[in-house]
Amino acid sequence: MSEARRWSDHPLVQLTRVRYREFFREPEAVFWVFVFPILLAAGLGIAFRNRAPERTVIGVVAPSGDTTLLAALRSGPELQASSMTDSAAAQALRTGDVVLVVTRTRAGIEYRYDQTRPESRTARLLADEALQRARGRQDPVPVRDHLVEERGARYIDFLIPGLLGMNLMGSGIWGLGFAIVDARKKRLLKRLIATPMSRWQYLASFALSRLTLLFLEVGLLLGFAVLVFGVPMRGSLPLLLLICLLSSLCFASLGLLIASRAQTIEGASGLMNLAMLPMWIFSGVFFSSSRFPEPIQPFIQALPLTAVIDALRGNVLRGAGLTTVAPELAIILAWMVVSFGLAVKLFRWR
């Protein structure tokens, strides 16, 4: 009773569709893979946005009727000076409501501030400049300010490739690891190999579903970053896709390796966190990995997530070409080949 088989009845297609169904019918998985990175990007992007210079608030203590001091300080655009009594000024300085107190003394002017606070030091310079200029100071050298705002150098620009790399790692390792350990625990793996199913097709279905979900994952996060924060996309799109594709396969292989023997979700979960923790810390998701001391740099540079994030930043922020990111791609490929080889050797279907 053999019927003409439709393409959709091919085992690889069926297995891959099962992967999608299992993923999209798990609202939590969808949230962590698609929504969470965007929320994180939005939150951090807003918190660390580059602000327009604010007016610095300073307190002025002068005898009543003496308004020249106040007028001089208010002439500049960057200071907001308010008159207060000596004790009120001391109180405001303590609580941080003002960063500098300017007092008229018999000898001249006294600046009261905490010199460990950068904004206090800035306020002192600005106040002094305004007061001296009001009394006729001239610049010996003519100067001109040329203000720029460089897209690509902001924190959000730095952050987006990091989040993208972290997301690729999480969905690769968790997505594959949990699904396989769960199937093993439910004895579903054993039931599957009791059929004529090809074991390669089973593993390939994970790779295929990862790769297609990848477009959504990368597209959503980058689309959000470009539209909302104006993050520049300076590199070539095909190279970006290649980096994402290799990264995703690399982390999927790592997930497969972690899941190759684990019998329980708890056991696998511990192993996954153990594998990912060093990368969350060292690989430069939220700040540059170069902040860590020199002796551990070789270790950091060898981590797959470091290579992924460096390659992504190179492509997105600096428009780096294939030859520039080749060393990173080599590290990613090496991790992929070694983990996959080991995983296939160690894998238990029962």
């Binding site: 085992p11 297995l15 019918r25 004895r187 579903l188 039931r191 009791a194 059929t195």
Partner: protein, 313 residues
Amino acid sequence: MRTRQQGPALQVRGLHKAYQDVVAVDGLDLEIQAGECFGLLGPNGAGKTTTIEICEGLNTPDSGEVLVLGRHWGEDDRTLRELLGISLQETQFSEKLTVEETVRLFRSFYRDGASPANVIAMVQLQEKTHSRVGQLSGGQKQRLALACALVGNPELLFLDEPTTGLDPQSRRQLWELIEVFKSDGRSILLTTHYMDEAERLCDRVAIVDHGRTIALGTPRELIAGLRAEHVLEFALAGAPAIDDGALRSLEGVCEADRRDGTYRLQVEELHRAMPALLQELRRQGAQLSELRTHSATLEDVFVSLTGRNLRDE
């Protein structure tokens, strides 16, 4: 259409399997004829699951020979798997898939086979076609497992404890489905620790204990081997024990033993043995606290062979 295999569906000779220091299977022989439903009956831990999984090619024996449909495992496993239907103990299918999606997935692994809709109808899950597996009852899940085993049109069906944990109605429903498959002339190997299941479904039964076959035959032959058609069980209220020998010498009693205060007599002619027993009890001044009789079953065969009940832990 495939040609049916000639000769035995399954041959097992001298099967041995040990895990570390526990011997699971200890020199087991089996031969299942084509079209036969064969039952491995035994208590938990008797080696039934290990045996059936070796036959399914999911486990390897330490020694012994296994021929499935005339082939050895390791020669052309893919082709062999096309011919087998398997239901494992405790498989949980993905709860997020529907019944239809699950059956379709399994159908995709086989070159030939039934359409998913037909198999779903065969196991009477039509109404649940689009329900998630997670919402099915235990009996419905077992029927789904059977559907996945049947979807490749197997020549030989392996069922490992197909009704364990089900309510009586679900069990009877599953038995009917297995009988339909049987009537089509295909072969079945099933394991169970329910004697009623083995009696109803199996053409022949091997009673297995500690990894060995301790009895083999049709359920009728095995029961007839007891020499007694009935079993009479009784217990006494507080009276001194009665000698087994005295009981054995009663008219119509073939065998007598006592366990945990319950006397168990194998009886040929109940209408003679019962008055004789009551008379003996009256003579000894003993008081009955329990008395029951039933026709001999496979359970009694097991008890008389091992001195234990099938479901003793």
